[in-house]
């Protein structure tokens, strides 16, 4: 077991190295760099090639690619993610300021996604082919097909038309400093992201439940007189959750992708929007740093999922 975990950890380091290299190479493939964008917007006329060269030299962008790659990889290995070209602050500081926001929104979305999908998935399977099942399934199928921003647009429209609350929120309130403001800001993205993320889990859980409930041990549990609820939750759901757990990694990646869109839509100053704006102005060190951290989270979640998997299902042997 510990051998397996060590092997996986080593493998994850390799994967993160490939991710880091991939980000480095692709960002450097992009047309234009920070120096060019910045100078071009600040000086509108005349010959600014000299100014661009000067800016490149200051930022160290004039050095050859392999040299920059070497510095980049060694500093990443020492957990130094560089400094923003734009604000000159360190990547850790820039991300550290936005991470709480993203984490707040992300956990709210995950909370909604799971508290919607788990009971709905079980109910839909238990009441198979009744109208309850049909309604819930339609909801799930639509939730998978509709883009997250469309769900958010519909919710915004509802809030606007029913005049529920003011949508234009200034600044970035946090849950613990200004709970009312934060909830107003987060409400629509949370529900939209939750529906979008939860719908897939619900469909998966339902089909798994149906498969599990055909097993003999379910009939045995019923036959020995256990109440329905116990059979569904203790016997069926526990076994149906395994593939759902595997989907967790994908769900988290999906929530992150959804957050990039939602944070942009609702002007939430989190990592998702930061990532997007950094890409647009070609401010790469914080961009690369953010991507690495997100990949680290995804890889770690996958590892935890795999370990829990073996713990939940003793038949699985680690090799």
């Amino acid at each position: 077991m510990s051998q397996y975990i060590i092997r996986r950890l080593v493998l994850n380091v390799v994967v993160l190295w490939v991710v880091a290299s991939l980000v480095f190479v692709t960002t450097n493939l992009l047309p234009g760099d920070f120096a060019e964008r910045q100078v071009a917007t600040n000086l509108e006329l005349a010959d600014y090639t000299e100014a661009i060269e000067e800016a490149r030299r200051l930022l160290g962008l004039d050095r050859p690619l392999y040299e920059r790659y070497a510095t980049y990889i060694t500093s990443v290995a020492m957990l130094d993610l560089g400094h923003s070209y734009d604000t000159k602050r360190s990547t850790w500081e820039e991300l550290g300021r936005r991470f709480p926001t993203t984490l707040e929104l992300g956990s709210l979305i995950a909370l909604v996604a799971f508290s919607l999908s788990l009971p709905i998935g079980v109910i839909s399977a238990v009441k198979q082919d009744t109208w309850v099942d049909y309604v819930l399934r339609t909801f799930a199928i639509l939730g998978v097909a509709a883009p997250v921003f469309f769900i958010a647009v519909i919710l915004t429209l509802v809030v606007l038309k029913l005049r529920l609350f003011q949508i234009d929120i200034v600044g970035s309130p946090h849950l613990w400093t200004d709970p009312a403001g934060a909830l107003k800001l987060y409400l629509i993205p949370t529900i939209a992201g939750g529906i979008s993320g939860g719908a897939g889990i619900m469909r998966l859980l339902r089909s798994q439940m149906l498969e599990v409930m055909r097993n003999d041990y379910i009939r045995t549990a019923r036959a020995k007189g256990l109440p329905d609820r116990t059979v569904w939750i203790r016997h069926a759901m526990k076994n149906a959750m395994l593939p759902v757990l595997t989907a967790m990694g994908f769900t988290i990646a999906g929530i992150v992708s959804g957050q990039i869109i939602l944070e942009n839509m609702f002007n939430i100053d989190g990592v998702g929007r930061f990532l997007f704006t950094r890409l647009i102005i070609r401010d790469f060190p914080p961009f690369q740093g953010a991507v690495l951290i997100i990949s680290f989270v995804i890889v770690t979640v996958n590892l935890i999922v795999d370990i829990t998997y073996g713990w939940l299902d003793p038949r699985i042997r680690f090799s």
């Binding site: 047309p31 097909a145 647009v153 606007l160 990039i260 997007f276 990949s295 890889v299």
Partner: protein
Amino acid sequence: MARVQEVLRIPAESAPVVDPRRRRSRLRKVALLARRNRLGAVGFAMMLFVLLVAVLSPWLQRYDTNQVFQTANPEFNPTASPLDIARNPKLSAPFTLNRWERPLTRQHWLGTDQFGRDIYARIIVGARLAVIIGIGASLISVASGTVTGLISGYFGGKTDLTIQRLVDAIQAFPGLVLLLLLVSVLEEPNLTFTVVALGFLGWAASTRIVRSTVLAVSASPFVEAARSYGATDMRVMLRHVLPNVLAPVVVIFSISIGIYILAEASLSFLGLGPADQTTWGKMVNAGRNALDLNPWESLFSGAAITIAVLAFNLAGDALRDEMDPRLRGR
């Protein structure tokens, strides 16, 4: 039982003259499939509808997507003095744009957008684009994924290890981030480039699935037999392994079309979609400018995305359940 009843219900004299079983068998097969999987049947019908709209779009769109509709301004006065114009700006414009018109008029079935363009025409053309992107990206990802999956699974060893680490790395990226990076490589991404970027994104997942099937197939006795009579690796791969992994390949192809349509919509919504095209994602975003005043552009285009993705998802799911149920939940 159902079959017995069906046989009994046919009176002897009305039996068809030419080969009764042959004539009914194909139709009956479809009917049986449709009855067993009603949701799938609905999905296939919707998919046909979307494909039909996409193919027939030049005949259905009524107007050009960029045609701007305007009406003569009754207040226009070419001889108005600058002072009058300053007091009433309307005096200077010979035409006014028919912007944000409500739907369900004879001229504009679905209304007009902020520049006075016909929303119906733009939705119809968007369908063609969504279909091209979905099918194109799916083809690219499945074709490339099959090649690398075959190689990776068949040869194993170092080749396999290298390819799998690359696959792991791509899957450790949140998809949208990688996509944003890829399409930024061109200053103004065009349609072809967007399709290729989307296809590359899906390459990792299809490689992984094809590889795992190849691993299972390669272990079977007939592959060993082929090898033992001296078939080359190439021949074993193409003639013995490939035909046996085609089912999952077809399933991945059909299931991922909807995902690519959705991904492209997200890109377009963020303003990084194909620059020179009319896409649904762009329309949802543009419509947000006047959500309070006239939400119809956002609503129609968003609904169009949902319907198209739904159609391909349902059809793909049905195909998977028929062809290869083991892929469920992947």
